[in-house]
């Protein structure tokens, strides 16, 4: 499969001082990579670098396909007067001169993408009235409309019930099956075990590789610091568990 992202000794940050260093990984088409790490560990910073919003302070980053992003939906304005179809249509903006509005072809594409994520009949529903899982799928549809070869998802499973989570998981599998690269920031170590690769970040790259070999206790301890405990798994063995993450990313001001 073609290489979609290649990072070599990458360091990124907002000023002169990097907040994330030593990033070395590749993403190939058809792969799902789980990005693990504590809040402030550099997941968002990595995403912004992949989107081209931050330039590397050191090292190299090659991104060979368009990135579509699926942000956390609490961040978008749920009171905004837009339908699911409007949100999907936002994926057509980049492909059009600034004075043009979306035409029939673009509307058809947006509806097809909503159909692809199983939301065709809810196309006219107000975005903020959809369930959390449906909103995530609308944003995946928007990435499809963008024809994104790489889909970046920021904590997409947060707050979803198990049925919605399974449905989204299946959809991510389909995206990878089509040869797209899927990058998922998550807190859920157990979920990440099902994906092709994991990238552990804690202000630097702690580890990268197949989950089976990579997610050792040492790696997890280095990734999450002290916020990790060992629990009996009920079969005479042990399982690792994370203490609940501290949410300190409230937005300040207006």
């Amino acid at each position: 499969m073609s290489v979609l992202v290649a990072a070599r000794g990458l360091a990124v940050g907002y000023g002169a001082a990097p907040v994330l260093t030593g990033v070395d990984f590749t993403l190939s088409g058809g792969e799902r990579i789980g990005v693990l790490g504590p809040n402030g560990g550099g997941k968002t910073t990595l995403f912004r670098a992949l989107l081209g919003e931050l330039r590397p302070l050191a090292g190299e980053l090659t991104v060979a396909a368009r990135c579509g992003t699926v942000p956390q939906t609490e961040r978008s304005r749920l009171d905004f007067p837009v339908s699911a179809l409007d949100v999907a249509l936002m994926g057509t903006i980049a492909g059009r001169p600034w004075w043009k509005r979306p035409g029939r072809t673009e509307r058809r594409r947006a509806r097809a993408a909503l159909g692809r994520v199983g939301l065709e009949e809810l196309a006219e529903r107000t975005f903020g009235e959809l369930s959390g899982g449906q909103r995530q799928r609308v944003l995946v549809a928007r990435a499809l409309v963008q024809d994104a070869g790489i889909v970046l998802l920021d904590e997409p499973f947060t707050g979803l019930d198990s049925a919605s989570a399974e449905r989204l998981e299946a959809l991510l599998g389909e995206l990878a099956g089509e040869g797209r690269g899927v990058v998922i920031a998550t807190h859920d170590v157990e979920q990440a075990r099902a994906w092709d690769r994991v990238l552990c970040l804690n202000r630097r790259q702690v580890a990268f590789g197949a989950p089976g070999q990579t997610l050792t206790r040492e790696v997890l301890a280095a990734t999450y610091g002290g916020a990790i405990v060992t629990l009996p798994d009920g079969h005479g063995g042990e399982a690792l568990a994370l203490l609940p993450p501290h949410h300190c990313d409230h937005e300040h001001g207006a």
Binding site: L51, P71, S76, V87, I93, A94
Partner: protein, 288 residues
């Protein structure tokens, strides 16, 4: 029949007069620009910025009135100075943006009042504060219509980019919609709209047309284009109602128009509350 004829006469009588005809056209222009742009101002939470620009441009308007220059020119210069001063004051460390804006705007407004109260001030300078929709000239209408056309055309063309930024600033960039550009466009359009509206409603009341009809429409409509159409309709109806009131009861037209716009907001609030109550009752006792 006689009653109907008398109603028609009452409704039609004001518009025989050239002054009232021009005022009517001005009110339609105000409604178009205030309703359409106002929706973006309300959604982008720029109401305070609208108020600040309107007050900050006051010295420019007064200087134009004192020197006999066109108000449009004085207003444009006043807005430029106010915008620059706000941008500079915002960079002073340790003040905070809102405080910087408040200091600049109060200073400029005070300066305008000082100029306006000077002994050489021509009579009628209070028209700058409260507007003079009845004093609209044909030239004002042409210039106003041109500015309104620019604002509406820009909103039409950039609709989707503004929508993407308003919906989610942080991911708008990855969709090809720059948040910085959207902010700049909205501020420039806001300045143009204030220029148009200050003629009719004056420095103190101009913000009414930019905020009240759109805030009311926000409560009534569920999509942006219907919201804009509703806001335009509310603004024009309130404007015409204000003109009738001013014609028959001899109250200040600008104040009457602003009053009706705020009344429309209060009614929309009541309608929304009633709809919410009905919705809650339907949930509490589902049929079948």
């Amino acid at each position: 029949m006689i009653a109907l004829a008398s109603v028609l006469h009452t409704l039609g009588d004001p518009w025989r007069d050239g002054i009232m005809q021009r005022a009517l056209l001005e009110v339609v222009l105000l409604g178009l620009v205030g309703g359409a742009l106002g929706c973006w101002i309300v959604l982008a939470e720029l109401s305070y910025g609208a108020e600040s620009l309107a007050h900050g441009m006051f010295p420019g308007l007064v200087l134009a009135a004192l020197t006999g220059l066109p108000l449009l020119l004085g207003g444009a210069a006043g807005i430029l100075v106010a915008a620059l001063a706000v941008a500079l004051a915002g960079r002073v460390p340790g003040i905070g943006r809102d405080n910087a804006v408040a200091v600049v705007v109060t200073t400029l407004f005070g300066l305008g009042v000082l100029l306006a109260l000077s002994p050489d001030s021509p009579p009628g300078i209070e028209g700058l504060l409260f507007g003079d929709v009845l004093g609209t000239s044909a030239g004002d209408l042409v210039a106003g219509a041109a500015l309104v056309a620019v604002v509406l055309a820009t909103l039409w063309a950039l609709h989707w980019r503004l929508l993407a930024v308003g919906f989610d600033r942080l991911s708008a960039g990855s969709l090809g919609a720059s948040p910085l550009l959207a902010d700049a466009v909205l501020l420039v359009l806001l300045a143009l709209a204030v220029l148009v509206a200050v003629q009719g409603l004056g420095n103190l009341l101009v913000v009414a047309v930019l905020v009240a009809p759109s805030a009311a429409a926000r409560l009534l409509a569920r999509r942006l284009l219907p919201m804009m159409a509703t806001a335009v309709a509310i603004a024009i109806v309130a404007g015409v109602a204000g003109l009738y009131l001013s014609y028959y009861v001899q109250v200040a037209a600008g104040a009457a128009i602003a009053g009706f716009m705020v009344l429309a907001y209060a009614l929309a609030r009541l309608a929304a509350a009633a709809a919410a109550l009905r919705g809650a009752a339907a949930v509490a006792s589902p049929a079948g």
